[in-house]
């Protein structure tokens, strides 16, 4: 991030430097359908903040607004101090993003994917080479450097995708259902990395519909039909409702109708 753009980014921070994400009455409507309905919350730097909800609850729409992919219909939101409406490019340079869809090029090798995304984020050649080495060591992929990405197991692909989305050293990382389709063991390993990321001072914003993942979050909000119906720490919520698991709380709040969608 030592290019001009990074300096530009650094010079234009305005609001509370402690806030990574803040939303005020943020709303997104598609025609007559309200996907996100006036949500408000703050996420502090270094937090692991979860968005829990069934499919179609509005999680992905919300996250797309924070990433500058979708302009809000009403309300306001700031990410790293930048307005999502007016400064989407600043946001994009500051955040990392990994979606439920596998986002690497399957027909490029591991090293070529790293090189490509590094280049897109404006890293210089020496920086890319340095990062590639670090990353391959970290992921234990040194001998798979020139392997096509498509031949990696899914769990590794996702870890690689996560690493690639961290190449430009973002201060906030958005993960949209990052562990979809992965077995519980790989999921736990993946979360180990998420903790490491948070320990290094980065903010992690993650959406999920897995209840075990909800337990891992530092703080989480439960979304239902576009609204945030509860927000708090997993421990605090359990205490408040006198229930033992996030699963129970979720079912209690949302009702039985979405039980089959919220997977264990």
């Amino acid at each position: 991030m030592q290019n001009d753009f990074a300096h530009e980014v650094a010079n234009q921070r305005q609001t509370d430097p402690d806030l990574a994400v803040s939303a005020r009455e943020l709303t997104k409507r598609f025609g007559r359908f309200t996907a996100v309905d006036g949500i408000s919350f703050d996420v502090r730097r270094g937090e692991i903040f979860g968005f829990l909800g069934a499919n179609g609850a509005g999680k992905t729409t919300a996250i797309r607004m924070f990433c500058g992919l979708l302009p809000p219909t009403a309300g306001e939101a700031q990410v790293a101090g930048y307005d999502v409406r007016t400064q989407p490019r600043m946001i994009k340079q500051t955040i990392g993003y990994m979606s439920q869809k596998f986002s690497l090029y399957e027909d490029l090798t591991v090293a070529q994917n790293i090189e490509f995304y590094g280049g897109i984020y404006g890293l210089t050649r020496p920086q890319i080479e340095h990062k590639t080495g670090l990353l391959l060591d970290e992921l234990n992929l040194r001998d798979r450097r020139d392997t096509l990405t498509q031949s990696l197991p899914l769990g590794w692909k996702q870890r690689l995708a996560l690493s690639v989305s961290l190449l430009h050293d973002p201060s906030i990382i958005f993960l949209d259902e990052p562990t979809g389709g992965v077995d519980p063991i790989s999921r736990r390993n993946f979360w180990r990395i998420i903790y490491e990321i948070a320990d290094s001072g980065k903010t992690v914003f993650v959406t999920t519909h897995y209840m075990d993942e909800a337990e891992y979050c530092g703080r989480l909000s439960i979304m239902y039909q576009g609204r945030i119906i509860e927000i708090g720490t997993p421990g605090g919520l359990k205490e408040k409702y006198g229930l033992d698991t996030m699963q129970d709380i979720f079912v209690h709040l949302v009702g039985g109708d979405t039980r089959k969608e919220a997977k264990q």
Binding site: F5, C67, G68, L69, P71, R89, K92, Q93, I95, Y97, S99, K101, F102, S103, L104, Y105, E106, D107, L108, Q112, E115, F116, Y117, G119, I120, Y121, G122, L148
Partner: protein
Amino acid sequence: MQRILYLVQKEFRQIFRDRSMIAALFFVPFIQLVILGNAITTDVTNLDLIVTDLDRTPMSRTFIERFTTTEYFNLVEVEEDYQALRGHLDNGRAKLAIVIPKHFQRDIVTGRHPDVQALVDGIDGNSAGVALGYMARIAEQHQAQIIRMDPMLGRPLREARIVHAEPRYWFNPELESEVYIIPGIVALILLIITVFLTSMGIVREKEIGTLEQLLVTPIRSMQLILGKVIPFSILGFVEIVVAMGFIYVIFGIGVEGSLWLLFGESAIFILTTLGVGIFISTISETQQQALFVGWFFMIFAILLSGFFIPIANMPDVIQYLTYFNPLRYFMVILREIYLKGTPLHYLLPETLAMAGFGVAVFSAAVMRYRRIIK
């Protein structure tokens, strides 16, 4: 700028990863040239011919020989019975029948005009017309020769002159239709490569989700577009060169005019096709849809370009429609440069029309693309 270079590098890596893609890049123009160049021909050769000679004299036989010694006709039968001729045409044994009347020789010698009858199977109107043309020419040559050769005959006709217009076709003296068709194939190859690669390349990234990943990077939409358009344009030009090489090797036809002019005009032309490719990508969610829409566009572009069917032969309304087809102008330009070596100033109207379309289509497509990916 750096970002565009990374995008272009990535695109080429993906293209060349796929061995079948490289094969296709050389194989497609080769096949198209060989098949289209030879199959779409308006020349008529080996036309099956039946002759009924009611005269049976040396003169009638030399007349028939004139037909059998060219490659245009293929004598399948000599039918004695005039009434049976029609049956041969009906059942397809022959496309053309010639009837030499009784007293053919006598009439010639005495200075009368014998009428030779020709019956043509008119199902393929084009071939029928061409066949009749050949026939008339043979008959005319025959007359001229009789007059020259026979001093006895020549005497009374000494003062007479057979005036006949003999058109000289320049640039394609044999009137071979390959020569006319082939530069058009270069245009088709360029059209197909740029429209399909651009539209499907963008839609593929939509499908696999990498487009979304790119959109959360600080990359600008214009950089993203250039990152697609640059590599596919380069491929388009490689294809032109490959096709021109094949044309030279297979058909022995080289470019008469300026190569640089040809490349420049091609660059103007692909503005339109890249624009169409980008536009298709904005209305397609899957590669199948892109393929379908691409075909739909191309069929019309090709049919209304004058590639197979001369525009002058089309109904008026359709002729006006062709003015909205950039391929129409490019066809003319390519043929002119390729076969005649026409310089730019004679091609200005077509060039300007094509440039107008190119700029309009490309900017409209880019604007739509930028709005859609927001």
